[in-house]
Amino acid sequence: MTTETAGQFETSDSGPTSTGSRSTLILGIVTLLALGVLVLFGLILSPADENQGDAVRIMYVHVPSATLSYVGCFLTAIGSVVFLWRKSRWWDLVAYASAEVAALFTAFTLVTGMLWGRPTWGVFWVWDARLTSEAMLMLLLLGYLAVRGIAADYQVRAKRAAIVGLLLVPNVFIVRQSVQWWRTLHQTPTLSLAGAEIQGLMLFSLFTGFVAMTLVFVWMVIHRFRVAWLEEQVDAEGLDTAIAERRAEGVVS
């Protein structure tokens, strides 16, 4: 943001050109430190749980991932609504960036959930209500990203994606509700911290997990947003030349 860095980019082609800025660099460093603290507490300092054993350590990354996957999904819906309402491209790209990052965190949630399930339940997958909801969220996000990926005009893609994105939230609510009712017929141990004596160092590890992964999430959304923004600029680039070329066609003929 400072004039100093702006000048640096103007003067040299060989200089650092990236999606980074001074503030995101600081954010990145803080994030890496937080991840280090998470490893320290989550894997080394915190004790094993009486019931779950060492498997509880998976929770320190699983629970924040699950929360952030829903946060990303809400952010996408908010971005979609503001885009439709204000015609703001900025918010459209926020929706796009957070949907992609949300899909990544949903994938983390599913994989870590399955890796927790194998030692705990004996199988990788049971039709646990939370895990099933998360799988449905993944499918919904993949649908949204499929719309983002269609080869079409910007307006076409953005409007269609925005409608799908804004419906993510009601869909997630209805899916969660239905899956919950569906599974309450057959009681199974659910993937959660219930049963674990969560206090002291364990609680602190979980807290560290939330902080570190939220920082990662923010860093990723910012950078993904900037990549999407650059893609737009590259697309818009050369419009003036295109118009000039187009006019020249008429003179020749």
Binding site: D153, Q155, D235, G238, L239, A242, I243, A244, R246, R247, A248, E249, G250, V251, V252, S253
Partner: protein, 234 residues
Amino acid sequence: MEPDDPTFRSGTEPVVHLRGAVALLGRFPALAGVDLDVDRRRIVLLRGANGAGKTTLLRALAGLVPISSGEAVVLGVDLRIDRQSVRHRVGLLAHGTGLYDELSVADNVRFWTLAAGADLADAESAMARLGLDGRLSDVSVGRLSTGQRRRTSLACLVARRAELWLLDEPHAGLDKEGRDVVDELVRDAAAAGATIILSSHELDRAIDLADEIVTLGGGVALDDSGAGGDDHVS
């Protein structure tokens, strides 16, 4: 085709006013800064090579293609702000027929007439005008010849009572009798207060019909137009 006069806004401002209008198809500037003014009741012929931008210009005037820069006012509506409200006031005869193949001629014309807010009587008289009453009216559009489909599309257009007619190659695919009908419809519509912009490769026929000629090339209106223009007012 006798549009009631009250449906036409009387006014001195031009029906079409474009200044430096740019329209993008994807990233391709199909219109690269068109200037065009058309007054009410005029019949304007667009000519130009293939890919000159004729079709895009007609679609943009109908409010179907967004104008990304420049001025564009059609029937008093600024297309850069609002492309919806102009749409039901124009009639576009495009390359596509705009007809449902599985429905009969009469069903198609009636549906589009009612959709445009006109009466069934308008549909019947439009079909009669284009020779589609009688045996043809119950045939599915999918079984018609190209010329017959063109007539059906024209019937839908006539029944709409549009204020601005945008005809993309209206003579294409029609026999001589059909072309005469098109010319007659255009003249009647202009006499009744409508404005007509058409593109055609049938230059001999279209030049006789037109009050003005605009040549498009490279997505802009070229200056050499005007030849054969006003002498041919019918």
